[in-house]
Symmetry: none
Subunit: 230 residues, 2 copies
DNA sequence: ATAGCCGGGTGGTGA
DNA sequence: TCACCACCCGGCTAT
C-alpha cells in the first residue's frame, strides 16, 4: 500500500462517519489533532462542513478566517459543503449572501469549493483527490493574481477609511484634491470645503491625522502588565 | 444603469429562463451569438449546464474541450452545474468518475465550479458575480474594533492599508513618524528609513499618494459605454 | 456576505 | 436665522 493511500484525519471528524467510509475504500486513516483542516491527503487539505455548520460559520465570519489559515498552510485548500444546496436556500438565507460568500471564497481566497450530497460522496471525493498529482498538466493554470492595476481602488479605499467618509465622499475629496497626499495634508477648514463634509466630520478626521500615535501593538521584548483583567 | 450591470448572453440560453430572471434582478441583458461561454459579465465567463447535459458532455469528453476554450479566452472561467447533484449519482455514474472529472476541471483546468439547484439560483450567482472586483487580501479578517481604542486602531489600519504595509510595519512607521499626517507627507526616501520598508515598497506607496485621481465612480449624469465589449 | 433599517451629520432651500 | 429635507455615512440586525 503506497503513501498515496494515506489520509490524515482530524480526530474530531471521527463521529462524522467519513473516516470509516474512507477505510472501506481502502485508505489508511491516520488520526491526529489538526490545527487547520479536517482531512489531509498529499497535496490537498480538505475542510468539511455540513450545510448547517457552513451557515453558522458564515454568519459568524469564522469561515473566512478558516479559509485564510487553510490557504496559508496548504497549497491546495478544498472546502467541501455536505448536504442539500437547496436546503441552504430554503433555510432563509439571502441568496446573494450565499453566492457572495462562495464567490469570495473561490476567487479571493483561492479555495476550491465542492458540494456533496452526503458523507459517502464526501469520502468518494477525498478518495478521488488522493490519486491526483497535486500539479500536472502543461501550464500551471493557477495564476497567482498579481496585484497591479488596482490604483484607483486603493486610493479610494484609503480615503474612505477616514471617519465619516464613505465611497461617495472619498470620490468627491479625491476629485477636488487630486492626490491622496494632498487630502491627507489638508486642514480642517480645507476639508470642509468638500460638499458633504462639515465641521464635525472635518475635525474628526484631523484628530485622527494629528494625534500622536500611542503604540499599543505588543512588542515581543516588552513584558506586558495585566491591564484590564480582573 | 452602469456598465457593471450588463451581461452578454448567448442567444441559445434564451429559453432557459435565466436571462429573464437576470432582467428581473435589474441587469441589462444583451443577446449575442457567443462562440464560447453562455454568460459574459465583466471579468467573468460562465458556462451553464444542466445536470443531464453535464453528464452527456462528460461521457463524450466534450466538457474538457469546452473548459479548455473557456480558459483560453477568459481570465475567470466559471462552470455552473444546475440541478440536483444527488441525481447525478443516482443516475448510475460511478462516483469516482464524477469527482474525478470535477477535480480535474477545478485543479487542472482552473475552472471554478458552482452547483445551483435551479435557474433562479443560477441567476443569483451571475448577479452576484457582476459586482465582484479583484481585491487583495491582506490577512485575517479585521477584528471588529471596540469603541474604546478606536483612535489608535484607525490610525494603524489607515497606514496598514498602504501597499506592502501590514500591521507590524504600520506600527513601526507610526512610531517613527508620530502622526498619520507626517506618514502621508513623507517622501520615498524618508519612508524607506523605516526598517522593513525598502525602495520598492516606498515607491509603490509614493505612487499611490501622488498619482492624480482618475474618477471611476459612476456619476449619475454621465453616460458610460460598455467597457469590455468587442 | 448582503440587505435593510435607523440614527446622526451635512448642506441647501424656503419661510 | 431657523426649520425642514434629501443625501450620505456607518453601525446593527436578520437571513
Amino acid at each position: 500500500m503506497s503513501a498515496r493511500n494515506r489520509v490524515v484525519v482530524d480526530e474530531r471528524e471521527k463521529p462524522s462517519g467519513v473516516p470509516l467510509l474512507l477505510k472501506e475504500l481502502g485508505m489508511m486513516v491516520d488520526f491526529r489533532l489538526l490545527e487547520v483542516g479536517d482531512y489531509i491527503v498529499p497535496g490537498y487539505a480538505v475542510e468539511r462542513k455540513e450545510v448547517g455548520d457552513f451557515l453558522k460559520s458564515l454568519y459568524s465570519h469564522r469561515i473566512f478566517d478558516q479559509a485564510y489559515r487553510l490557504r496559508e498552510v496548504y497549497e491546495n485548500p478544498v472546502l467541501v459543503v455536505e448536504g442539500d444546496v437547496a436546503q441552504i436556500i430554503n433555510h432563509g438565507i439571502k441568496p446573494q449572501a450565499l453566492w457572495g460568500a462562495l464567490t469570495t471564497l473561490t476567487f479571493d481566497h483561492g479555495l476550491k469549493v465542492f458540494f456533496t450530497p452526503d458523507q459517502t460522496q464526501t469520502a468518494n471525493l477525498i478518495y478521488t483527490l488522493r490519486r491526483k498529482k497535486p500539479h500536472l498538466l502543461k501550464g500551471p493554470v493557477v495564476k497567482r493574481t498579481r496585484k497591479v492595476e488596482v490604483l484607483e481602488t486603493t486610493q479610494l479605499q484609503l480615503v474612505s477609511f477616514l471617519p465619516g467618509i464613505g465611497l461617495k465622499l472619498a470620490d468627491r475629496m479625491l476629485t477636488k484634491f487630486q492626490t491622496v497626499r494632498t487630502v491627507f495634508s489638508a486642514s480642517a477648514a480645507e476639508l470642509s470645503t468638500v460638499r458633504g463634509v462639515g465641521k464635525v466630520t472635518a475635525n474628526r478626521i484631523v484628530k485622527i491625522l494629528d494625534t500622536p500615535y500611542r503604540p499599543f501593538l505588543k512588542r515581543p521584548r516588552q513584558l506586558k502588565l495585566d491591564e484590564n483583567n480582573s
